[in-house]
Symmetry: C2
């Protein structure tokens, strides 16, 4: 075999791939550009030389940063060993593209080689026909496990957990346990998880009695029974618990792994922190994206799909804007007499919107972290109204002064000041109230709060300012 023609740039990029460099970011612009050039030149050897040293997660990142055509060219060159892990790491939209490029046969083979929990995750994201086709192609023991996993509700602990657990009887000693683990690793390594942090102790009906971290086992004498060593107050996760509650528990208790139990108390699986970290990332992504009025898979969607997905949100905002315009339209006669009102009116509305967004952000965050509950809702509301009053007074003075200097019209300055106070108080009130009420109604406050708030701050802002002007000036 001839040496692949790798040029100096490629080598620099590859060297950065080596461990020990100060930056955690391996897939940087230079690497992506070099990969793109290699693909464009159709030089398969160079492309393979690029991707060979990459970790699956980094390779997934590289594929995501390439454009569609490059992705399709690169997929067939990924080593078969890495494909299961790469597929597990990809963003859903890009994963669909890769699955299409692989074809149904190859995809089934790849999914069959994935860890059960990863396979479950990939299959759950497919539509039902594709799900069934993939499942049919997966051999027997794994297929049953995946189907069992799919039978748990979406976003539940059952979907998140790994099925392989080291569960031992309580009468075993530390010595028995170590001997068993050694023997099993030699004779039947498939029976053990590839990596585990805890041992669990079960009764003959496989009901969970307790557990212990491996470091506890390792620091005990051989003769000690597991029953003595185990911790019985470990946190048990009910298999139906929602994944966001699971994430809350892991954070709250600094857990690394936790056993999952069925209603009967039977140990059915274990959730490890790396899966919980993924859940935390998803929840975070959703919170930020929803607050900004976009869907979570926006970045990797094609242009038309992105435009269509964003249209809905913009359309709802258009209705808000039209309502605000209707309020302005009520006062067109006043504006006609004093055009300065038209010049100044966006200031009142905009300040209300910004102050309300501050409150809303704090409230949505605090709801997500369980820091805002029915217990302190009244206190938070009271505080926000007060903060709105204080800043309303401050900005009444500032904007009143600006209006007075600008237009030399003292009544106008007083009116904008009063409108500012009214709008900032209502911004504080509704900025806190809207997310709290939506949350109480079971609606995700990150999605719907901001458009409702803008409606309030625009309507109140324009109405207060133009209404006061009509009343006091005409």
């Amino acid at each position: 075999m001839t040496e692949p023609p790798v040029d100096a740039n490629d080598i620099a990029a590859l060297e950065r791939v080596a461990d020990g460099q100060p930056s955690a970011l391996i897939v940087d612009a230079a690497l992506v550009a070099a990969a793109h050039d290699a693909v464009a030149e159709g030089n398969e050897e160079t492309v393979r030389a690029f991707i060979a040293p990459l970790h699956a997660a980094d390779l997934a990142d590289l594929i995501q940063e390439l454009d569609r055509a490059d992705r399709r060219a690169v997929v067939p060159m990924i080593s078969r060993d890495l494909l299961p892990d790469v597929l597990a790491e990809l963003d859903e939209t890009v994963r669909d593209e890769v699955i299409e490029a692989l074809g149904p046969q190859e995809t089934a083979a790849v999914v069959a080689d994935m860890d059960i929990d990863d396979a479950l995750h990939v299959i759950a994201d497919l539509d039902e026909d594709d799900q069934q086709r993939l499942l049919d192609a997966i051999p027997e023991p794994d297929r049953v496990l995946i189907e069992e996993g799919l039978s748990y509700p979406e976003f539940s602990a059952g979907r998140l957990m790994q099925r392989q657990v080291v569960a031992l009887p309580e009468f075993w000693t530390v010595g028995d346990t170590i001997d068993y683990l050694r023997a099993t690793a030699e004779t039947n390594p498939e029976a053990l998880p590839t990596l585990f942090y805890d041992l669990y102790v079960v009764d003959p009906a496989h009901r969970l009695l307790g557990g212990m971290p491996l470091s506890r086992l390792l620091t005990a004498r051989r003769s000690v029974a597991l029953a003595e060593l185990m911790q019985t107050d470990i946190k048990r996760i009910p298999v139906t618990m929602e994944q966001r509650e699971v994430a809350f528990l892991f954070r709250q208790r600094d857990l690394t792994s936790a056993p999952v139990v069925a209603e009967s108390g039977r140990l059915v699986g274990v959730i490890t922190i790396d899966d919980v970290v993924d859940v935390m990332e998803e929840e975070h992504e959703e919170e930020v994206m929803h607050l900004g009025g976009v869907r979570t898979d926006d970045l990797y969607r094609d242009t038309v799909a992105t435009a269509r997905a964003r249209f809905t949100w913009l359309f709802i905002n258009l209705i808000t804007a039209i309502i605000a315009s209707l309020v302005i339209g009520l006062f067109d006669a006043t504006i006609e007499q004093m055009v300065a009102l038209a010049v100044l009116m966006p200031i009142v509305a905009s300040m209300g919107g910004n102050a309300g967004t501050q409150t809303l952000t704090v409230a949505v965050r605090a709801l997500a972290t369980n820091e805002l509950t029915a217990a302190n809702a009244a206190r938070v509301l009271g505080k926000e109204i007060l903060v709105g009053t204080i800043n309303g007074l401050s900005f009444a003075v500032v904007t009143g002064f600006v209006a007075w200097v600008w237009f030399g019209h003292l009544p106008l300055a007083v009116i904008i000041g009063l409108a500012m106070i009214i709008n900032l108080i209502s911004a504080g009130l509704f900025g806190a109230l809207i997310p709290i009420v939506l949350d109480r109604l079971g609606v995700d406050p990150a999605v719907a709060s901001s458009v409702l708030l803008t409606t309030v701050t625009d309507v109140v802002g324009f109405f207060a300012f133009l209404g006061l002007a009509t009343w006091l000036l005409l």
Copy 2:
């Protein structure tokens, strides 16, 4: 001793505290209300009965949800064993209050009982005088470790790591290792971390050679040497690496713990996933809060401090709003002739603001997750301009139609349509460009992007709409 008078409500609240209930949330409204009532009645026994069964993290939550007066009353009742963990779990603002309530003597004693990494975290948040006073009160070996920790830059791996590591010579066997761990646990338990997941192998100069998870040690024969068993390709974290890069690495590689090395290759500590989860939460909190124009400790600040902290951001936004008003002021003669322009103009500006926020949210997120880099910046920009064009055209038709029906004035409908196209394209362009440029300049894009974007979409929106009207209608 008489039985503490616990009433039925209290008992219900306490029962929910017991493990195994379906909800992860223990500190709910009922518990907080019951705790408040008990404090209000001055019934110390009842309060103690409440807080005794709580986990430190839950107790910290309870304290945060109480109001200031209640907090001060509860602090002296917290058991001395729990205080170190409670202090570590508290939000910074509330922690300052608790430290004040404890007084300097008691605080020093509590901090001395904390894990080194937690103590470091608490001390690092204090101002310099308090830091020195606390350090002086902490006994010798711990104080040196904490001072060493403080010598690493803020937000670096050195600040995050634990100092206690199990590091062993490469010629030891599995048997030697287990015997050593057992013996040390009995004779000198302080020399071992309370919980550990990995063993590290070092040379005589304490340079890191490799490592292994405990499950690997446990499944190997006693005679195997650590040199054979260890994995040498484990990820090493340089002690100066920034914590957000550490978090990225842990996520990317699904790590549970990772060794921290000095420049010489010496093993100096270990970072575990629970500390990284805290970093991820902090980064997330910052991203969301900064996008909303608030500081991260907003929820627990008192009213005046909150109002003052938010004032700055609102003031910057006021300048933006005034700039937009100046643009409107340029066209006051046009508005005077056709007041419908004043009625419709906020629609154009608001749609630009919302479309720009969508793009900005995606861009800020993608920058935070390293999914938007120099490699795909041009592609993302191109896509956003196209999305802006598509939705600009769509909303040109919709708003044009609305304006035509409303005012029966076809030229006005055409003008608002054209202005919409111009503003949505510029919203897409600047929504992506502003965060990318800020990031390149080393400015946190979550903080400054939105105010710059609003300036652009307001100015372009008003200028395009009123400018076109002046040009075409007069």
